[in-house]
Amino acid sequence: MTRSAHRRRVALATTAVLALTLAACSSDDDGGGSEDGRIQLDINGQPPGTDARELAIFEAEVAAFEDAHPDIDIVPHEGFMEPETFNTKIASGELEDVFYVYFTDPARLIEQGYAADITDYLDDVEYLDQVKPELNQVFQDAEGRQYGIPTANYSMGLLYNRDLFEQAGLDPNTPPTTWEEVRTASAAIAELGGGVTGYGECAIENTGGWHLTSEIYSTGGQVATQEGDSWQAAFNTPETTALLENLQAMRWEDNSMGGDQMRSCEDLMIAMGAGQLGMYVAAPDNIPSIVRQYEGTYENLGLGPIPGGQGTLIGGEGYMINADASPEQIEAALTWLQWRFVNPDETERRIQDRLADDQPVGLPMPPTPDIWIDGPTRDSVEALKEANANVPIENVAPFMDAAPTIPGQIEPPSAQEVYALLDNVVQGVLTDENADIGALLDEAETGVNRIYDAL
């Protein structure tokens, strides 16, 4: 090769690389209408390729929807809500037309104007009036305008290992219903030895505060109360103190929680799957995760109501629609979301698909999510669920039976900031034998009020 030919090649290659870079940076035109006149709808919520079974279900659902709605072209994207990439996608205009959110997200996304106001389109959405109003409220602003559709709803209960209960001489069909009973059961299970601990608590990355919130609700307490326009911390009460003293006694007096306390909720799921943990506070969606990822079994996992039973934290998921979406896209998006998630008409087919695929049926999750108000819709879904269950639903019966009597409450405002402060309370109790609970609560209260004053 001569030198000049070589140089030409270098120049060509450089040009090509630059051109590619620029092409990659420019976003493609996304008007929503495709050439064949179909409405193009970019959605996320596609399960990762590593979860082959869920992915197959998802793809079959998209295909079935497109068959039934030939005017809509669904373009699926992998992933759910990842805070690290979400803002980048918004900033670059790459956010999908329909995007997944947790119940924690809508309040700030509405405030920042990232989601479309869909209130005027909702009259045509079938069955939406059968969804629990408090779930729709998660997606509404102060004026009652709605910006998203709830698709699943979880409340927290007490997840426990039935085998360990039996070995420790406890009745696996009657899980503890008060925090004192949790303490007794935890001590009994820890007696088994071999590294088994009775009770576990998530404590890091704001999960400590998140779970403490649920536990404060369980005593009938509140994390924050509203007075006029302003919010105030409301958790510094004798009930919360008693709750934490009970936790302190489990950790230090009975020594039934083990030594490692800087654990995430995932660490607890791993321990639960491995049969090393007796109980922890969790929502029902933890059950299939433990079975699928951490070698637990449906037979061995039981779910009871949250101890205390005066209230519990509800969480859940749903979808919002991009603020940039055209009216046609909003209509198409609502058609998709209703068909896919708010649709008792398809429940039976979905149950059969899952049964054929050996996927769990019988839990309060898709295909039988717990989102319906009392009435014929709920009754029919529940009847289908019970008739077709392939997991032992009696194991979650204590939770389901108590659920109607336990009021579900949503998260406090500025939830993540508040959880970060409450994390400290939980960590203080769990890592410092001489922790002063009163002082920890005072400090957290000051911090939370500071956050609310700045709102």
Partner: protein, 338 residues
């Protein structure tokens, strides 16, 4: 061991800056330049010769441009954006608005502000005390093993090749208070065990140990390279003068590697002030905020509280602090040189 004498003579007489320029300019170009009227650096060259020179440099400029574009896109532009963002309330749909110093007010008002800076500074300090000497001593030791040096080099460098998150997760297991590797070993040999990351008193130190273990490989390799440039005669004459091993270390090794030591110290402070992976993966900032660092707060502001303005303001502050520190450090150490 001894360096060739001719090279040593050059090294001794030509000042560092000039030496480099003499060596780097290719012979062909030097000849060309010398032929030009008006001496080496003045203008007014013959157009044809100038054009040839330019043409010869085109490829170099081309490559330089590519590097500049990459730097501009991925380093300078984001840095400038960061400065802009720190004075804005960031909204990616409605557009951001200027808010003056509000973001700085917000971070100053955060009760964790002081905690985070103190923890980061302590982390850097502990990392200096615990970790700074270790790679140097390791390098000196490895340098003594002539035949298995390569083997030790790989061994010491291995942790650097492990993904940082894997290292952090692995050490979480080592640190388990009951049944963890470290407490088991300590207990077996009769030493006191510790709660490690489970206690606010020891958590920061525990993270420093992980970070030192994971990062010392690079510094060790750099020291090893520096040690090998020390002329053997220096040790010989020191030995003849009756210097023992510590005297030789003090009077020969350390002065000869002084520049590398000072540079690595600066780089280590800059790196450890930005510690993030270890607290993020291992403790989430706990227990009781004992491992909340500046970068961890930046992460929380941006991705948990969705406040990109505050995150940028904090980053800018860290940049300024480190820039001022580096400038002061370089000034002090330079004036002491010679």
């Amino acid at each position: 061991m001894a360096a060739p004498t001719s090279r040593r003579r050059v090294t001794d007489k030509v000042p560092a800056r000039r030496r480099r320029s003499v060596e780097k300019v290719p012979a062909e170009r030097r000849r060309l330049r010398d032929k030009l009227p008006g001496g080496r650096r003045e203008g007014g060259q013959l157009p044809a010769a100038r054009w040839r020179l330019l043409k010869q440099d085109l490829t170099a400029y081309g490559f330089l441009c590519a590097a500049l574009v990459v730097f501009a896109f991925f380093a300078w532009w984001p840095a400038i954006r960061n400065v802009v963002l720190s004075f804005q309330e960031v909204n990616f749909v409605r557009g951001s608005s200027w808010v003056g110093l509000e973001n700085f007010q917000y971070i100053f008002d955060d009760p964790l502000f002081a905690t985070a800076w103190r923890n980061s500074a302590l982390f850097s300090l502990y990392a200096l005390v615990l970790g700074f000497g270790v790679p140097f001593v390791t390098a000196v030791l490895i340098n003594e093993f002539r035949h298995v040096r390569a083997y030790f080099r790989v061994l010491v460098y291995l942790p650097v090749m492990l993904p940082p998150v894997v290292v952090a997760l692995m050490w979480r297991w080592f640190y388990q208070p009951d049944g963890g590797l470290i407490n088991e070993v300590l207990g077996t040999v009769g030493l006191p065990t510790s709660e490690w990351i489970n206690s606010p008193d020891t958590s920061l130190i525990a993270l420093v140990i992980v970070s030192t273990w994971a990062n010392m490989g690079s510094a060790t390799l750099i020291y090893l390279a520096a040690l090998q440039t020390i002329p053997g005669e220096l040790y010989e004459s020191a030995e003849l003068d009756g210097a023992g091993i510590f005297k030789r270390l003090w009077h020969v090794t350390i002065p000869q590697t002084r520049f590398v030591i000072l540079m690595l110290l600066l780089m280590q402070v800059i790196a450890t002030m930005q510690v993030f992976t270890e607290p993020f993966v291992m403790t989430g900032g706990g227990p009781q905020d004992s491992t909340v660092t500046v970068m961890l707060l930046v992460y929380r502001y941006a991705f948990q509280y969705n406040n990109f303005g505050a995150a940028s303001a904090m980053s800018l502050l860290l940049l300024l602090v480190l820039a001022v520190f580096s400038a002061a450090y370089l000034r002090v150490t330079r004036s002491r040189q010679i």
